[in-house]
């Protein structure tokens, strides 16, 4: 089964290498949303630094959702999803492999670029490690939960909007604890509890996603 998952991971990474736009587009989208915020609200440092945590988390969430739409859709359209499902391995391993690549391609770049974003939004520098850590635990959760929606809308026309409707409500706890942890760190408060909660949600998503996305793919 490890070999099966590895075959999927290797193929998807190869595809990303052939079409780097898949990786770059969500990142540019993320930057764009962040840049729109000061334009729409106010470029004032005091206000921005206060709202930075929430803005970064919301933007990360939207960027993740944007790239999730195609998670299974491309494979479904060209028939390779059928072949993946036909292999004699449980469909949850397929889900986990796909989600892993998705996070590697869309989540990890967001984390790496987040210090830059934090500076642009005047987030206090001592909160930056917390921001990165919370994104590190939180973005895999987003990818996992989103995979459920992506699997459900796979065969549906115009699934992008639908995916957003299905998944955003499930993201509520992640954004609350993710953004709160950064805000707490900015105020110099302890963040251990937040990280524990984020980690708990990651484990939770890891438990429900493989089953539900796997069975949704087989509909």
């Amino acid at each position: 089964m490890i070999r099966y998952m590895w075959a999927i991971v290797r193929r998807d990474l190869l595809l990303v290498a052939r079409q780097p736009a898949e990786m770059i587009n969500p990142l540019v989208f993320f930057l764009l949303v962040i840049a729109l915020f000061p334009l729409g609200v106010s470029p004032e440092a005091a206000l921005l630094s206060q709202t930075a945590a929430g803005v970064i988390w919301v933007a990360a969430m939207l960027a993740t959702l944007l790239s999730l739409e195609l998670l299974f859709k491309l494979d479904h359209d060209d028939g390779s999803l059928e072949q993946l499902l036909l292999a004699p391995y449980p469909s949850w391993s397929l889900v986990l492999a796909k989600v892993f690549v998705h996070w590697l391609v869309s989540g990890l770049p967001l984390i790496l670029i987040s210090p830059l974003i934090a500076t642009m939004l005047f987030l206090p520098s001592h909160a930056v490690p917390t921001l990165m850590l919370s994104l590190l635990i939180g973005t895999p959760t987003l990818s996992l939960l989103g995979a459920i929606g992506a699997a459900l809308v796979t065969g549906v026309r115009g699934g992008g909007m639908l995916l957003t409707l299905l998944i955003l409500p499930l993201y509520v706890p992640v954004i609350i604890f993710g953004a709160s942890s950064v805000a707490a760190a900015a105020q110099g408060m302890a963040i251990g509890g937040y990280m524990a909660l984020l980690a708990a949600m990651f484990v939770f998503a890891l438990m429900i996603t493989p089953w539900s996305a796997g069975s949704a793919l087989k509909l």
């Binding site: 459920i148 459900l152 065969g155 409707l165 955003l168 409500p169 609350i176 604890f177 709160s180 949704a216």
Partner: protein
């Protein structure tokens, strides 16, 4: 290929038969209709006309007799939808999927009623139609969950697949609801936007909560009635042409 289903008593499998369910639901329907009408009327008249006014909120609290049942039902229906969906998935029972799909619209309606009455109640209590109160916020998220399931159902044209998709999403949503609820509550205490919760009264006199109990029970009966009716209509659609259906007295009118 077929997974061996868990052994269940005979009546359970009987319920899964559209024919049997159609007939049984037809018998139950009038009773639920009578119960819903009676309980709701009794509770509403008692609550709106005879229950004493609240010492703090005056008469405005009476909207509770609509708000609280709607709020309770909005959550129970989601749970019911998930249970029906799980039954459908485990025992491959088409009727269970139909029941789950019948729950969506009525659940979303109750959630909308809870939101609107909550906002109306909020105006005299908080001075604003909307505050980011923990309960209102989690009810709003619940409404979004319903909206998502409804949208998914409309997007999938094949009924059988739509039923399974609804089931999976309802189960995932139900597992998530407590987490969403607690995270919103925690977020609410952090931001201290309101310190006054609408319904958590220290001690409600019997004259106030008994009518509430009646309206809650009445709403459950109303919900059961609507689900039975909608499931029956789905059975008619899916079994159109089946001989047992054509001979049923509800169809022939005999």
């Amino acid at each position: 290929m077929t997974e061996s289903s868990w052994r269940m008593p005979r009546w359970f499998h009987q319920m899964g038969s559209p024919k049997w369910f159609y007939g049984f639901a037809g018998i139950l329907q009038p009773w639920f209709a009578i119960a819903a009408l009676g309980l709701l009327t009794w509770g509403a008249v008692w609550g709106l006309a005879f229950a004493p006014a609240d010492y703090q909120q005056g008469n405005s609290f009476r909207i509770m007799y609509v708000h609280v049942p709607a709020a309770i039902l909005s959550q129970s229906i989601f749970l019911g939808m998930a249970v029906a969906g799980a039954v459908g998935l485990v025992w491959k029972m088409k009727v269970a999927f139909m029941v789950a799909r019948s729950c969506i619209a009525i659940g979303a309606t109750f959630t909308a009623i809870a939101l609107v009455t909550g906002a109306i109640w909020g105006k005299p209590t908080w001075g604003a139609y909307w505050v980011w109160d923990a309960r209102l916020t989690s009810t709003l998220v619940l409404f979004f969950l319903y909206a998502g399931i409804m949208a998914l159902n409309q997007a999938i044209s094949e009924r059988h697949i739509a039923g399974k998709a609804t089931a999976i999403l309802a189960i995932v949503g139900t597992i998530n609801i407590p987490i969403i609820k607690y995270s919103v509550e925690w977020w609410n205490t952090l931001h201290q936007s309101s310190s006054f919760t609408l319904t958590a009264k220290p001690s409600m006199p019997a004259d106030m909560y008994l009518p509430l109990l009646l309206t809650v029970l009445g709403s459950y009966c109303l919900f059961a009635l609507v689900v039975l009716m909608r499931t029956r209509s789905q059975i008619v659609q899916s079994q159109s042409g089946a001989s047992w259906l054509m001979q049923h007295r509800d169809i022939t009118g005999a």
